[in-house]
Chain length 388, copies 2
């Protein structure tokens, strides 16, 4: 069992009617705020006005950068970083989902350096500091509101790269489940698939770690399975939205990792899909995850599948391990494709075989991905073929 450091000092205001604290929290970091958001859905739901009210009540000066795209691009990051420099911004306020928050994190880092922010990814330039970040979350999925990572796409190089750095951790996040009431059933499903994957990337691991954390991960997976269909059918169900929102944060803030050290598998593979095809991240993960589990299942890994099947899906434990393992993959597929209604193949979403070699090579960096099972380019191509 490895040692580890736990250090997640993000303050969270969870629930309705908490936005009254926004002005005071922002004011701790200064007077000049860059508000970032996406395509304007925050205006439709009245959140933009509510945020502006609070910010103005606190006497802050607000600059704006809107139009941050899903799978956010390096150009948005460049633009935001430049505004921070030009306007001497003190604190960034991201209002949106993971894309907006991810992009905002890298703007905050870009504001503190002299070089092009893409160098954080192209040459892994050090992230020594970042401006403070406050978030108001509108989508339960990526967990960006409580972690130190962000994924940025570069359409020119067809790269989509994620990176963590502790200065990017938000100082404060506002998590109001009612801000997700207008999230469509499809986006709710994609968010759920993303969260499931965040947990499974860590849970499926053969190195010994804390049983307590396995219990937590199983509990979060049961929470997602229980509440996603409810939120899809009854979008203003507070209980469902609240459980999904708090789960999204804890699935990936690093707590459940404990001392486990293992590369992720499905996320690097999926990033290559959405780098080329710009499909929704959660959808790509949903297609990949059950096939990846099939590919990794053997006598050395079967015990983890058994634990998963019995504790998450309630599969009868009195069967052969391999039978339980296979049922657990079936149950997961049922959840993703039948219950959530996500597409189950690359063919259905238009991902073509001819791109497999380059996507597979990039996914593993031309080397071996040291994940649940080590996978090299040929393994990844094989998994891609299983997704057709």
């Amino acid at each position: 069992m490895n040692s580890f450091v736990y250090d997640i000092p993000v303050k969270v205001y969870f629930g309705e009617n908490q936005l009254c604290h926004l002005g005071a929290e922002l004011s701790r970091y200064g007077k000049r705020v860059l508000l970032t958001y996406g395509g304007g859905s925050i205006k439709k739901i009245g959140l933009y006005d509510a945020v502006m009210d609070e910010v103005k009540k606190a006497g802050l000066e607000v600059f704006e950068l809107s139009g941050i795209e899903p799978n956010p691009r390096i150009d948005s990051v460049r633009q935001g970083a430049q505004i921070c420099k030009d306007e001497k911004i003190d604190v960034l306020l991201a209002v949106g989902g993971g894309s907006t928050i991810d992009a905002t994190k890298w703007m905050a880092a870009g504001a503190c350096v002299d070089f092009d922010p893409w160098e954080f990814f192209s040459r892994w330039a050090p992230v020594e500091k970042a401006l403070p970040i406050v978030t108001v979350l509108t989508l339960s999925a990526t967990g960006s509101e409580m972690d130190a990572g962000g994924v940025i796409s570069n359409p020119e190089t067809k790269d989509k790269i994620g990176r963590m750095a502790s200065p990017l951790l938000p100082k404060v996040s506002f998590l109001d489940p009612s801000n997700t009431y207008t999230v469509s059933p499809y986006q709710t499903a994609c968010g759920a698939a993303d969260m499931m994957s965040h947990i499974m990337e860590v849970y499926f691991n053969m190195s010994q770690d804390l049983f307590m954390l396995d219990c937590f991960m199983e509990g979060m997976m049961r929470t997602i399975i229980r509440y996603t269909p409810i939120a899809m059918k009854d979008p203003t169900n507070y209980e469902a939205r609240a459980n999904l929102m708090w789960t999204s944060s804890w699935a990936i803030n690093g707590f459940v990792n404990g001392g486990k050290q293992q590369a992720w598998s499905c996320h690097p593979m999926e990033h290559e899909l959405s780098a080329i095809y710009d499909i929704t991240h959660g959808l790509g993960l949903a297609i990949l995850t059950p096939r990846w589990l099939e590919y990794c299942l053997d006598e050395t890994t079967v015990s983890k599948y058994v634990q998963f099947g019995v504790n998450v899906f309630g599969i009868d434990a009195n069967q052969e391990p391999m039978a339980i393992a296979k049922q657990s993959i079936e149950k997961l597929s049922e959840f993703l494709f039948d219950v959530l209604g996500l597409k189950r193949t690359f063919t259905e979403v238009g991902i073509r075989v001819e791109d497999f070699p380059v996507m597979a090579r990039k996914a593993c960096g031309g080397d071996v991905l040291q994940g649940f099972k080590p996978i090299a380019q040929s393994d990844i191509e094989e998994i891609f073929k299983m997704c057709l």
Copy 2:
């Protein structure tokens, strides 16, 4: 479902070989350190020397206060606060279990005020600030290493009072499971009973809150049930000690509360026992908890017992709710008294009927404890009688 604020910025170094970070962490707060500890067991296990090595390597000046007692007393707090003032201490380093850490927290607060520290309890004087606190934990039980509370006894007034205040939250805690290898089976059992109670005080609650957090609490209870007997039989089992240690912190750091607002029941009752009889806190809780559950069981509360019994003890769900509920209490008693071997009655530990009225009155402050079920003095006396 109530809104809530999550704010637990404690940094934790978990695992072996982490003490090398102690000097750097202390140095962030200054040069003058007050080292606090209990009866000297940290010398026997070599921890005192290891800590001193690190502190000296970092060039810090160390002052010492040892002899902090179990159920720590206000006199120790007074003494520590005075040393902080006299020696211009920058940071306090508590090395020990919950008693040492609790006392150290109140020294850190007492160092910042002109009045007697007992006034924090007698007249609820405001806790506006405290010196920074770093802890090195040697006992998995109270969770003081990651929460903002501390319980202090006053033998003169026969009071034992707990209070939370955010300035008391440790900045950094070092949790090395191997530092608990020498904890006796009996103290390991008492610690487990304390942790179980911390969880059950929150879990047994009829107000609607996050399902996800119920899953976490059930996972922690299963962790305690699984690993306490192992740690008692095989005291140097790292896996068992590690699971118990991380559970002790998360059982009570406030995370699992979510938006639940409810007074605790068994802790206030137990504090009155140990205020008079100086028995081990966990032992008192072990005796009280199953009787309290019996007392609170009725048609309005039974569903929570069913959830507990099925999800924590694996009781067959296909039975009458009341039957499952009763079995769940039996299973808990079996765990506490048969598996852990704790004494099961007041009679066995010498707690006398004649003290019931005054203990019961103090436990509820002469009013009604608004816990899982509201209980007044007469209810508490009844529960005490069930413990005979």
